[in-house]
């Protein structure tokens, strides 16, 4: 099937087997290998990308379901010479080790802050209240991204800095 997805601001036309997941379309067809395949079943978060600004697991979506969508991957946030503030914060705080979950963590963190701003509740949000920015909220909202190296404390510190404009 021929589809068009705007990836990192650029319209990309693809002729795809309908079975191709969004993740494999990015990795194998567009050579955007920053989005990682840790489990391929929505159980780790390493493939997290933004689809129309919303974070999703790219492995649990067919590319054809995103015909016409705008997708942002880790490559669209920044580059080694021009890091996004969240990328810089992860670097500064050593919020990764092996680096395999990292692009997903960073995409997730960027979208998480937007969800937070929009007032989306989490299990840490008191009933009837707007969410208050806290480490507990960050931890809960970042729990869809597993880090086996377990850089969890550093990730919280990085996100806090990025959110508060220190990165």
């Amino acid at each position: 099937m021929r589809i068009t997805i705007t990836v990192n601001g650029e319209a990309r036309s693809l002729d795809l087997d309908p079975r191709t997941t969004l993740l494999d379309a990015l990795r194998e067809h567009l050579k955007l290998t920053g989005s990682k395949k840790g489990c391929d079943h929505g159980q780790c978060g390493a493939c997290t990308v933004l689809a129309d600004g919303v974070r999703i697991n790219a492995c649990l979506s067919l590319a054809v379901m995103h015909d016409g969508d705008a997708v942002t991957t880790i490559e669209g946030l920044g580059s080694p010479g021009k890091l996004h503030p969240m990328q810089q914060a992860f670097l500064t705080h050593d919020a990764f080790q092996c680096g395999y979950c990292t692009p997903g963590q960073i995409c997730s963190a960027v979208a998480m802050l937007a969800e937070f701003e929009a007032g989306a509740p989490s299990p840490e949000t008191p009933r009837g209240a707007a969410p208050a920015f806290s480490d507990a909220e960050i931890r809960e909202r970042m729990s869809g991204n597993i880090c086996r190296c377990s850089a969890y404390p550093q990730i919280v510190a990085a996100i806090r800095d990025a959110a508060e404009g220190r990165a």
Binding site: Q43, F96, Q97, G99, T102, S143, C147
Partner: protein, 755 residues
């Protein structure tokens, strides 16, 4: 004859003139990792479009493949080849006397009709696209003649034997000493089988350059054994395999060897004449790669009323594959930890038809501290002593097993500083006294210990006409920080800014290093780098003083200093790049190497730490939350405060996971593990980890290596789980000796206590 005294001389790392040693500099490869531009094995772009290989695992635990039907798979769209043992290329057996390491791990792929464990790769399909390959893999039909399998570890303890070549170690007379002790403890703990669950599943990409040279990118912790093993399997010369592993998405011991993804990618690439890449699925990782085996640990402690141990025994039962010999040496660390005149330690091994057991982060300590460090907590309670004080009272002056002096031992300082920083004095000795909302709150602690090792390694250093130093080594970085510490050592040694250093590792064509494992990486690779760097200093000094065009001409090479990219003898100087551009425009390259000192064994050499933990226990549901945790560690000179801390906190969280989350039960009917993905296998997530930090004490271990550094990659998860378990007891009064401490188990304990 090499000696640790050879390392006494000053060197640039010890001098640390630029202050780069110990500094928490950002990861060298960090900008690539945070932008998703570091290519892992499956992501390398080959010279022509790759074909996609998918493996199929065995559906039985033991038996024979009796019939194969691959017709449908072969006829499936896009399929390029479909292999089973009937049509896979013949492969020479692996392993030679000269290089026994290459015998480890996987055997030739698709070798025979024998199935030795559930999930063993038994078929392989390659197609033009990943989608076609996966679809075809589901069409492979195999029939089996299953044979009775033996997988029930706890029912087979009576079949356990001594691990090959090992004997129990007894000092004094344990039985008498134990019987004569005023206070005795005799309890048994169990730990479950665990999976590594590296975020990057094992993957390989291979292609051939001509008929006899194979290029293979894979995800492996040790370069040379992987290169040699693949060469043997392919029946080509070692130098005809170019093996690369530049970025590795986690290893933890599970990628200490290669698997059939590498073999099959290389064989299929040869057969098809095009690049082939193969990745394990997450599901396949659980059975298809090694695991940490389950253990049963019996700990006996006998002490006087004063808390001094008179007798100590730790016996571990564990399992490995029927054809293997790996032993989880959970009792070993106990030989060095506490003083006691009468000691008995050893291991028993049961051979089972489970997949292969192997090394997983802190093999031995990770499991073993979960018993002994809780036993010490129980003993302290029996004695009415503070658990920190009990440990201090049993601090040995020399290694209690062999009488050797310690090269460094700051365990007591770790215990004391940790207690103070954590606020240990707030701990109530009686459990169940502190409540915070729905949570009962408790504090626990445990000691940490892990050995330190130095292996032989080589390294090369180059300087080019721009004054850039390039470090080259067949070493790996599995997230441990190798790239970064090598860059720091190079920059400090040659007196150049960090930005003037390049690091190339993960390549079989570079000088060999043993790779990442056993927390020996930084010390081993780093020491070789220091040696190479010293050799390059000498070469540069000779060049400058011998070059009539240099202001340093005719000076004493021993007087040359290296700072800020400038070489100088007192007030005569020039930049490194000016010198090289003029005097050696093609640059200079030298090698260096490190070998263990022959007298290093005269010292007992370990890394140490103390964990302090605060948990909340919901007495209604049995849920546990780690609220606060602090580790204080002593592990020699620290090269990079940032990456070392990350290693330690990561290890601590592994300990939390061992206490609360991880484990993979065996279904004895099928000989398989029940948890086959990351929804079923419980790893901790961000919300499971509260405030958690690690602190490193100042230390230099001059018996370790020329830099006085030691490893930290495994120390963090030694003892951490026991601190959690002890905190749970302090919170609610329930002792559980079967890990992990899940809500259902803790609930049963709470109910039994009438809570």
């Amino acid at each position: 004859m090499s000696s640790v005294s050879d390392w006494d001389a000053p060197n640039p790392v010890k001098d640390n003139r630029a202050g780069l040693i110990g500094k928490g500099v950002d990861r060298y490869e960090g900008p690539l990792k945070v932008t998703g531009t570091a290519p892992y094995a499956y992501e390398v772009q080959p010279p022509s479009p790759p074909a996609y290989g998918v493996m199929v695992g065995a559906a039985i635990a033991r038996g024979r493949i009796t019939a194969v039907d691959i017709a449908a798979a072969e006829a499936s769209p896009g399929v390029l080849l479909a292999w089973t043992h009937l049509n896979a290329p013949a492969q020479p057996p692996r392993g030679t006397k000269g290089h026994p390491r290459s015998t480890q791990g996987s055997k030739p792929a698709l070798e025979s009709d024998r199935v030795a464990y559930f999930g063993q790769p038994v078929a392989f399909v390659v197609a033009d696209t990943l989608e076609n390959a996966v679809a075809a893999s589901h069409l492979v039909r195999l029939s089996y003649a299953a044979e009775a399998h033996d997988v029930a570890f706890h029912e087979r303890l009576d079949a356990a034997g001594q691990p090959p070549g090992e004997q129990d170690v007894e000092i004094g007379d344990f039985d008498s000493g134990f019987a004569a002790s005023e206070v005795r403890l005799d309890e048994t703990w169990t730990t479950p089988l665990q999976n590594h669950c590296q975020m990057e599943p094992c993957a390989s990409l291979a292609w051939w350059e001509g008929p006899s040279r194979c290029v293979a990118h894979t995800s492996v912790q040790m370069v040379k054994p992987a290169q040699h093993g693949l060469a043997e399997t392919l029946g080509i010369g070692r130098d005809d395999v170019h093996l690369l592993t530049r970025y590795i998405g986690g290893g933890f011991g599970g990628k200490g060897q290669t698997y059939d993804d590498l073999t099959l990618a290389a064989l299929a690439a040869r057969a098809l004449g095009r690049p082939v890449k193969v990745a394990f699925t997450r599901q396949q990782m659980m059975h298809g790669t090694i695991h940490r085996p389950a253990t049963v640990q019996r700990v006996r402690l006998g002490a006087g009323r004063d808390g001094r141990l008179n007798a100590m025994s730790m016996m571990t039962w564990t399992h490995c594959h029927r054809d293997g010999a790996f032993t989880e040496h959970a009792s070993n660390f106990a030989r060095s930890l506490y003083a006691a005149p009468n000691r008995l330690t050893g291991h028993r091994l049961v051979k089972l038809d489970l997949p292969h057991a192997g090394a997983m982060r802190a093999p031995g300590e990770a499991s073993g501290t979960l018993s002994l460090e809780c036993a010490m907590d129980e003993l302290a309670e029996q004695l009415g002593l503070d658990p920190v004080e009990l440990r201090i009272r049993n601090e040995p002056e020399v290694d209690p097993e062999n009488g050797r002096p310690f090269s460094q031992r700051q365990l007591v300082r770790c215990l004391r500083e940790g207690a103070q920083l954590f606020g240990w004095d707030r701990r109530m000795p009686t459990p169940g006294q502190v409540r915070d909302g729905r949570w009962l709150v408790g504090l626990g602690m445990a000691a940490a210990i892990r050995g330190n090792f130095l292996l032989p390694a080589k390294c090369s250093f180059s300087v080019d006409a721009d004054g850039v130093i390039t470090v080259r080594q067949g070493m790996t970085d599995i997230g441990t920080g190798t790239y970064t510490v090598l860059a720091q050592i190079a920059a400090e040694t040659l007196g150049v800014p960090l930005g003037q250093v390049k690091v190339e590792i993960g390549d079989s064509e570079l000088p060999p290093a043993p790779g990442s494992g056993g927390q020996f990486g930084a010390a081993t690779a780093g020491s070789a780098a220091l040696m190479a760097g010293m050799n390059l200093r000498r070469a540069i000094a000779d060049l400058a003083t011998g070059d009539p065009g240099s202001p340093l001409h005719a000076g004493d090479p021993g007087d040359v200093t290296f700072q800020d990219g400038v070489v100088a003898i007192e007030n005569r100087s020039e930049t490194l790049s000016d010198l090289i551009r003029r005097a050696a425009p093609d640059g200079l390259t030298v090698e260096g190497e490190i070998r263990p000192a022959q007298d290093a064994q005269k010292w007992s050499q370990q890394t140490y730490g103390a964990h302090y933990c605060e948990v909340g226990v919901d007495p209604v549901t049995g849920e546990v939350r780690v609220r606060r945790m602090l580790g204080v560690f002593a592990a020699g000179r620290i090269i990079n405060a940032k990456t070392a801390r990350s290693q330690l906190t990561g290890g601590m969280i592994w300990g939390v996971a061992s206490a609360l989350h991880e484990g993979n039960p065996v279904d004895p009917r099928y000989g398989s593990l029940i948890n086959q993905d990351l929804a079923q296998y419980v790893l901790p997530v961000q919300a499971d980890i509260g405030e958690l930090d690690a602190i490193m004490l100042d230390e230099v271990d001059d018996k370790a290596n020329p830099m006085g550094i030691k490893g930290v990659g495994e120390l963090g998860n030694s003892g951490a789980g026991a601190a959690v378990a002890n905190a749970i007891y302090n919170a609610c009064g329930v002792r559980l000796r079967d890990y992990p401490i899940t809500p259902d188990r803790l609930l049963a304990g709470l109910i039994a206590k009438g809570m």
